[in-house]
């Protein structure tokens, strides 16, 4: 067989393999969107869920998902940032660091249902949080932390060492060099990573079933006091998210239109996650341009 022929076969094979991946993804996405999008309406997005009758919406679930995401990021981002900076800039290359890295990897491969049950036992039961947004946010932090740390570490690591030397040679302290030069240069990568992690958190169900609970109590969107039981901001109330709602409708949904709501909610979920993913790229680039002042 001559090299030209081999090359043609290899190229052909690669195209076939790529086509399989694209077909599976496009098929899945298409199925969900085609089935779901016709069920999405303004009414669907802005009204509460119905327990027994048809015509319910997903307003509370959608809000809960977003609120949970924000809380999760508030908890996990500072921790991941600290850990990432430590691993990339300060950690010596020795066995302790290797143990830490291995543990982070193990944590990231933990099944989310295990994280959920752990959160249930520790926070919901032992600490007496009950099914609550806070318990859910902490569980999601466990789930999110390894990926986020890894991402931040790598973004920092990708910044050229020349930048650090430049900072130090100007008499800047190590910390100032990291916070003023390395971190800004790594920011676009970090932001992209945060948004991609958000997509993962947004679609998570298993870890939340046992922590944030499966009920969406009626809340008052005009009550801004987070300590009030009926406030939409109260972190101690149970909160069914979109992904959990879809799971519940499909396992024990008793409304006559459970199937329609579930398809609509799935489509909304997919659209939001797609927006996260596409937005991540655009926003990361934008920040990079802004930071580096390239026009």
């Amino acid at each position: 067989m001559n090299p030209k022929r081999t090359n043609q076969i290899a190229t052909g094979l690669i195209y076939v393999l790529v086509a399989i991946v694209v077909l599976i993804l496009a098929g899945l996405l298409g199925y969900i969107l085609v089935n779901g999008v016709p069920n999405i309406s303004w009414h669907f997005l802005t009204s509460g869920a119905e327990a027994f009758s048809a015509g319910g919406g997903i307003r509370d679930q959608l809000f809960n998902s977003l609120y949970l995401l924000v809380l999760t990021l508030i908890i996990s981002l500072p921790i991941a940032l600290g850990a990432g900076i430590y691993l990339s800039e300060y950690a010596a290359d020795n066995w302790v660091t290797n143990v830490i890295r291995t543990m982070i990897e193990v944590l990231s491969s933990l099944p989310s249902v295990v994280v959920g049950l752990f959160g249930y036992l520790l926070f919901v039961i032992k600490f007496g949080f009950g099914f609550s947004i806070l318990a859910g946010a902490i569980a999601l932090t466990f789930f999110n932390l390894p990926l986020l740390t890894r991402n931040i570490e790598e973004s920092l690591h990708n910044v050229s060492n020349l930048q650090r030397e430049a900072g130090l040679s100007l008499g800047l302290s190590n910390w100032k060099t990291i916070s003023g030069i390395v971190l800004p240069a790594a920011l676009p990568g970090i932001i992209t990573g945060v948004i991609l992690c958000s997509g993962r958190v947004f679609g998570e169900a298993a870890a939340l079933i046992y922590t944030a609970g499966q009920s969406a109590p009626t809340v008052n969107y005009l009550n801004f006091n987070p300590l009030s039981a009926t406030s939409f901001l109260n972190p101690m109330r149970p909160a069914e998210t979109l992904a959990v709602h879809i799971w519940k409708l499909n396992t024990e949904g008793i409304t006559p239109d459970a199937h329609l709501i579930s398809s609509g909610a799935s489509a909304v979920l997919i659209i939001v996650i797609l927006m996260f993913n596409l937005g991540a790229r655009a926003f990361g680039n934008l920040v990079y341009l802004k930071m580096t002042a390239v026009k």
């Binding site: 040679s169 100007l170 008499g171 800047l172 030069i181 580096t292 002042a293 390239v294």
Partner: protein
């Protein structure tokens, strides 16, 4: 390559007052020694060049002058900056580096605007007056003859500059701190000949106000810009003299072989 007697050396003591003096300096990475027993005096407001083949230890020696080897290599012996032992425990290394600036082999502008490249470190040192910051920026850029090229795009990214411009920006960034000594580690090696020539001109002008020590593997460059030249071979300073003497009338065979291109 033939083996040379590394103990054979010829080292002069410049008559001018010294900016940096090394006394029995030895540098090693772990058990691997790279610099042996070095005694040199670098005179003030002159350009001194360190030449030698790759791996001769010239960059390592240079980097120990502002302690950029901290945490990487062990430095034994004394390095005096005027009358201060820079490896003394009591020395504030960040303060020291403000006096002894450094420019690296590859241009490394920050991913910030041209102006911020110059003002970032100044602001960290408490200069907040806008007028003063602009003035320092302009002065430094004029000193490296970059002002005319960038004055209209001072707020644009430094990453948009060409290699030669970026390198001159890095020098400007160093001198904006008003250091006393400027260390340059092969500053022209990543530049084209025209940018290189411009850079050499810049260095000549700067030497009126700064003590410059430059590492270069380019002998023509060393002979063009420097007043004194030290030739290093395998971690030993073989010869240190007026540049003129080194290139026209070297005392040691090793030096002669190196500058006539027999090795390295």
């Amino acid at each position: 390559m033939q083996t040379y007697n590394l103990e054979d050396s010829y080292i002069v003591t410049p008559t001018e007052s010294a900016a940096i003096t090394t006394e029995n300096i030895e540098v090693s990475y772990g058990s691997h020694q790279v610099i042996y027993q070095t005694n040199l005096q670098f005179p003030r407001n002159k350009i001194s060049a360190l030449i030698g083949a790759s791996g001769s230890g010239k960059s390592t020696l240079l980097r120990s002058f502002n302690r950029m080897n901290d945490g990487k290599a062990n430095v034994n012996g004394q390095i005096w900056y005027r009358d201060v032992d820079i490896n003394d425990r009591k020395i504030n290394v960040y303060e020291l580096r403000k006096h002894i600036g450094m420019v690296f082999q590859r241009p490394n502008p920050f991913a910030k605007s041209i102006k911020d490249n110059l003002t970032f470190a100044l602001k960290e040192n408490g200069i907040t007056d806008k007028q003063q910051l602009s003035q320092r920026t302009e002065e430094s850029l004029i000193a490296v003859s970059l002002w005319d090229e960038v004055k209209d795009k001072i707020n644009e990214s430094a990453l948009s500059l060409s290699g030669g411009q970026a390198q001159r920006l890095c020098i400007a960034r160093s001198i904006a701190m008003k250091p006393d000594v400027l260390l340059l580690d092969e500053p022209a090696s990543a530049l084209d000949p025209i940018s290189s020539a411009k850079l050499e001109e810049t260095l000549k002008t700067l030497s009126k106000n700064y003590t410059i020590i430059i590492v270069t593997h380019n002998m023509q460059q060393a002979s063009r810009v420097s007043d004194y030249t030290a030739f290093l071979h395998m971690g030993h300073v073989i010869e240190y003299d007026l540049t003129e003497n080194i290139f026209t009338n070297p005392h040691i065979q090793t030096t002669e072989d190196y500058i006539s291109g027999n090795f390295g």
